[in-house]
Amino acid sequence: MNPIRLTTPLTFEAVASLKCGDRVLITGTIYTARDAAHMKMIQELEKGGEIPFPLDGSVIYYAGPTPTRPGNISGAFGPTTSGRMDKMTVPLLEKGLKGMIGKGLRSQEVIDSIIKNRAVYFAAIGGAGALIGQSVKMISVVAYEELGAEAIRKIVVEEFPAIVAIDSTGKCIYDRE
C-alpha cells in the first residue's frame, strides 16, 4: 500500500480519513517536546499562560535530537517513548493539538481524549534516528533553550515517515485482541 501524504497543520478531514496501520509521509512544520518541555508547558497553562507555539491543528513530536554535525541539516532524530508524556497530554489535546508522533502505547485517558478531540497518534520507528533525520529540512529552537536536547524545536519536515498507531476512532496498532 502506498503511504498517505499529509501536510501540517492537520485538518479535521485529514485526521478523520486516517486509519490505524496506515503508513504516512508528513510534510510541513512540527514541534518537538519531550519530558521537561511538557512539564514547563503544563505549568504555563496552569498559570494561565500561553504555549510557545500555535497549538491549533499542530503536531508534537516527542523527540530530542543529537547535535547536528557541521555540513548536515540534522542529527539523529528518532522518537522517544510517548507514554511518559501521557499525564501531560490531555490538556494540550483540549487546546487544539491534533497530532502526536512518538513510539509505544498510550494510556486509556489519552486514547479517550484522542477520540473526543478527533486527533491522531503516529508511531515513528524507534531507533531509526539517522533515517528519520533525513526528512528534516530545517531546525530552530523556539522555546526553553536552556533544556538543551529537550528544548522545544520547530522543525520543517519533508515526507517524514510514520504509521498511524491510534486513529481518531481510538483503534490502536498495539492491541492484539
Binding site: P65, T66, A76, A123, I125, G127, A130, L131, A149, Y174
Partner: protein, 280 residues
C-alpha cells in the same frame, strides 16, 4: 607488574563509544537480516528493512544510529598484575566518554542529581564496574545504554520454590509489560542468583554478549532458548506492530545464591544494542 598508561584506556573508551553509535554491531546486523527472512508480516519486514537502511545512512552521513546515544556503562576487568600510571583510571574513563560524546556529536543525556535534574552537558559520569581478575591484561567492555529500554527493566526476589518456571514467567512477563516501549526487537539480559545488586549487574553484563552466542553453561543455554521461544510467541514484533521477532536473544548469567533466595534481574536492551570490547 605490567604498567598501563590510563591515556591508552581513555583513547580506547573514546573510540569504542563513537564506533558503537555510528556502526551497527555485526551480530545485530545479521540478526536483523535473519529476521527479515523469517517474518511473515509485511509491516514487520518493512520496519526491519528500515533498521538496516538506518544503519547504512548512519555510516554514510556520519549520524548516530539513534538520537538516544545512551548512558555510558563500562565493565573493566583488571588483571591483578596491572598497575595503572598517569592518573586515576576512573577519571580517564570519564574523559574518554566526554571526548566521545563531544567530538562524536552525540546527545548528552545525563543529569547530575536525579531529582534536581540538571544536565551535566558532557554525558558523564559513566557507570563503571571494576572487577579484579588474575593475570596482567585489561579487558574493557563498553555499552551505550538507551533508556527507552532501560526503563522497562525489572528485578524480583523470587521464592526458591518458584524455581525455573518462576524465573521463566517473570522474564516473559517483563517483556510483555515492556511491549512496544523498548524499541523491539530487543535483547534480554537476565541475571539469576547472587544478591540483589549482583543479579542486576549480571543482567547488564549479559547484554554485552553477542546475539547468537549462547551461554557456556548448559543449564543457562537451554533456559535461554526456552525463554526466547516464549518471548517470540508474544506477537509484540518489531516496534510492537506484531510479528515473530520480539527479541533477538536472551542472554543469561548465573551465580550461586543463598538458601533462602532466588533473585532475578531482567535488563532490557533495544535493537540498537551497542556494545564493544577490547583486551589490552
Amino acid at each position: 607488574m605490567r604498567e598501563i598508561d590510563v591515556q591508552i584506556i581513555k583513547n580506547e573508551v573514546k573510540e569504542l563509544f563513537i564506533e558503537m553509535n555510528y556502526e551497527i554491531s555485526p551480530d545485530i546486523k545479521s540478526a536483523v537480516t535473519c529476521a527479515i527472512a523469517c517474518e511473515t508480516s509485511l509491516l514487520a519486514r518493512e520496519v526491519l528493512g528500515d533498521l538496516l537502511k538506518n544503519a547504512e545512512l548512519a555510516t554514510e552521513y556520519r549520524i548516530p544510529m539513534c538520537q538516544d546515544t545512551g548512558m555510558a556503562v563500562v565493565f573493566l576487568e583488571v588483571g591483578q598484575d596491572v598497575s595503572f600510571t598517569g592518573g586515576f583510571i576512573g577519571d580517564a574513563i570519564n574523559q574518554g566518554v566526554r571526548e566521545a560524546y563531544e567530538e562524536g556529536y552525540m546527545r548528552k543525556s545525563v543529569v547530575s542529581n536525579p531529582l534536581i535534574r540538571v544536565n551535566t552537558k558532557d554525558n558523564t559520569p559513566a557507570i563503571i564496574h571494576y572487577e579484579l581478575v588474575p593475570g596482567d591484561q585489561v579487558k574493557l567492555i563498553c555499552t551505550a545504554k538507551g533508556f527507552g529500554s532501560e526503563n522497562m527493566s525489572r528485578i524480583k526476589m523470587l521464592n526458591p520454590s518458584e524455581g525455573t518456571s518462576g524465573v521463566v514467567d517473570f522474564v516473559v512477563e517483563t517483556v510483555h509489560l515492556a511491549g512496544s516501549n523498548p524499541c523491539p526487537p530487543m535483547v534480554i539480559g537476565v541475571g539469576i542468583g547472587g544478591t540483589m545488586e549482583k543479579a542486576a549487574i549480571m543482567a547488564k553484563k549479559a547484554l554485552t554478549r553477542d546475539v547468537g552466542q549462547n551461554s557456556d553453561d548448559q543449564v543457562s543455554a537451554e533456559l535461554e532458548k526456552l525463554i526466547l521461544d516464549k518471548i517470540n510467541g508474544l506477537n509484540i514484533g518489531p516496534q510492537g506492530f506484531g510479528g515473530r521477532t520480539t527479541a533477538f536473544a536472551v542472554n543469561i548469567n548465573m551465580f550461586p545464591t543463598h538458601i533462602a533466595g532466588l533473585p532475578v534481574a531482567v535488563n532490557i536492551n533495544c535493537h540498537a544494542s551497542r556494545h564493544r570490547e577490547v583486551t589490552l
